[in-house]
Subunit: 488 residues, 2 copies
Amino acid sequence: MFAEAEADPTLSKDEFKALETRLRVGLLNAQYERLRQADKTLLVVVAGIDGAGKGATINLLNEWMDPRHIRTLAYGPREGDELDRPPLWRYWRDLPPKGSTGIVFGSWYTPLVIEAVRKKPNADAIEAHAAAIMRFETMLASEGVQIVKLWFHLSAKAQKERAQRLLASPETAWQVSPVDMKVNKRFDRIRSGAHVVLNHTDCGHAPWVVIPSADENMRTARTAEAVLTALRRRGVPRLPPAFVAHSSTTRIVDRLGKLDYDAKVEKEDYESELGLLQGRLALAARSDKFKDRSLIVVFEGQDAAGKGGAIRRVTHALDARQFDITPVSAPSSEELARPYLWRFWRRIPRHGRIAIFDRSWYGRVLVERVEKLIPPAKWRRAYAEINDFEEQLAASGALVLKFWLAVTPDEQLARFREREKSPFKNFKITPDDWRNRDKWPEYSAAANEMMMRTDVPHAPWHLVSANDKRYARLQVLRHIVEAMENQL
Amino acid sequence: MFAEAEADPTLSKDEFKALETRLRVGLLNAQYERLRQADKTLLVVVAGIDGAGKGATINLLNEWMDPRHIRTLAYGPREGDELDRPPLWRYWRDLPPKGSTGIVFGSWYTPLVIEAVRKKPNADAIEAHAAAIMRFETMLASEGVQIVKLWFHLSAKAQKERAQRLLASPETAWQVSPVDMKVNKRFDRIRSGAHVVLNHTDCGHAPWVVIPSADENMRTARTAEAVLTALRRRGVPRLPPAFVAHSSTTRIVDRLGKLDYDAKVEKEDYESELGLLQGRLALAARSDKFKDRSLIVVFEGQDAAGKGGAIRRVTHALDARQFDITPVSAPSSEELARPYLWRFWRRIPRHGRIAIFDRSWYGRVLVERVEKLIPPAKWRRAYAEINDFEEQLAASGALVLKFWLAVTPDEQLARFREREKSPFKNFKITPDDWRNRDKWPEYSAAANEMMMRTDVPHAPWHLVSANDKRYARLQVLRHIVEAMENQL
């Protein structure tokens, strides 16, 4: 795997010149073609031996390509706000739009590499890191984010000589970092760790390319070539089937059909109970223990099921500085230029805070499925993607609660009519709502399947009977309060 | 000013019902009209006495208006990343787009209010806070961000009674915060502080409205009315002349004309000097003292003056994790929906980091002026706005350095021709470049005026002769290195 790179091949000035024009013209044309198509992002992951000249990739690509459409994304250890979110959060946050190229330093490979080059690497940890990376990259690949990964490599001898050469003159000595000096002593361990990393994570849709780096001309040419090959690659990547789709054939339970829609609460009981639950919620949200956790609440349900009213009963108990409400409707152009989960990743709260989603990422398996906005393969795959997303949220300290507010067709009809009659509620009812209503069975089937495939202990679904608004609001508050009190 | 509010007026249930329909229909229609026009953002600043029910505004507006186009922006004390930037940074960062409405809690008034209600307020500090607020709001108003400020007020007696009433029952006691309890003891001081705040910052384009808050119906109706009035207000606000335009009539110095364009550096001297300067830059950027500062470098200059090459010589000395390059071209739709400085505020680095702008906010007084993309009043005003912006950056610990790379028309022509001939540089030359070239005198005049009006000690302009690329690159590096070494 590293044999060629450790032979430290070189490229003469003339050979390089002969290649340069072709590569530069090729890169520019391919880049502009990408911009025109605007259907894919390219991420160039930069990794490899320290002191192999990885950093030069930034200047190379910025000089040889049109720098207005390149973004450098460089990361150190997680810090500040990043520690409150899942490790992958910062990479999601910074994803460049389709048509553009990102150069990634300090990527999601760092924890895996660190583990793999330890004296005694933990095989389970390596497997777990690698599996998480594969899930992430497969998800990106299937959503139009192409990845090419460069491993800059050279022989131990060349690495040492390079450092010594640079150190010999004050004009270049500053280019050698303390880390570069340590590499040589641990070269064998680093190489065998790199073997493990590359073997575990090389795949057709996100391949590794080893760049021989001892000679600057060779390194430059091979880097440009690898990026050019990636840019020219067309078509949809073939994804490993295990990551692709939900394949379970379990019978789907009709949870919506089995619900008791007659549940109701009298007005006096409601007022008193509401105040007490809000008081408990206020207390829990202000508690010291909540400072290390966050709360994410998802509201889904039929149109006119009362999501807005339920949300206001929750926010009434909260300090304005503590929560954000994200109403979800059709994605903006900025959002369409990224994988569908991007716009939700951006809204993940830091610790001590609460994010409320009025509709959510579940639109993928509801409206996008029923209205055939995406091919079936995409929503079938989405259950696993969403489970993975929520697992990451929960692992980072978020309480994730999901509510489906359920009304019967009759009750919805009554509310639609009432809205139409009200001079200040008719804005809430659109032709879309009537059209959706015509697809009641399809939406119900999608909701039932969604609840079956994504009702998990760390992010449970609460199916709430909402024909009676008071009952629904109390149920929502009660579930939130109990979850917080149990967990804090 | 507070007489009406302290009379604690009430609105009966019937009176309220009579108003409600008109207000709700009015708010919705006005909101949709705003969305259609999409030429203004409305910010509703929420302030006033604690325990007057300010928080209810969020639920009110989210219930009575279409919540998909409302954003709640709530702030506590500055923390984390916010401390590395100017105090106004977070408000800029979160500005909602034109067409939408933001509700602001914990606004830019907090420091002024805190000062004004102290036992012995400092008059100078009050003046300074108020002046900064006026500059900010005037800038926003002139860029399509309308502001209405609500002061929720009630009598000391009503404030006390409200707290006691709520405390009497466990269903409502949680609504009273410890702060609410303290208000009563200091009521007179708070009222006189509020007087000062409102008097200093009430103006036609960003008025204060006092909301009588003892009675919930009254508070709701008056809040809705104030927002409705603001939404219905049409036309461009009249701005106080002092904030509007640069009125100096000083003769403009022809700095570009007086430059020595023959300055050059030989190749051997260049290589050695470049390495040494890069080494000093690397050292300064890694120094502990830089952890409390940031560096912002702006590059402007004629087309083909060599900005990209100069930038790469700077970034070569830096760790990828430490800098961001922002290439500036025509604004996106997202950026056009906000004041022109917004997209630059978003890219302000935190401490320990470096932001490089390849073209910048100076486009306002260069291309936008020369190409008549904006009326003269806008670019005339921009000098003061930009000076204010950079002063805030410097005050927050940023080193701000600005470079104009200057070439002669002949040299530019030679570079254009060379670019046209090169198969991998011709992408850099467009019909626009030739058109700009035809307006050489206009661009030079704009650049000279810009340098005169915005060359300030805390954010100096360096005019660099760039007919010789080597000379220009060393000059740029030298200025950056010296500024860092002097300041750290």
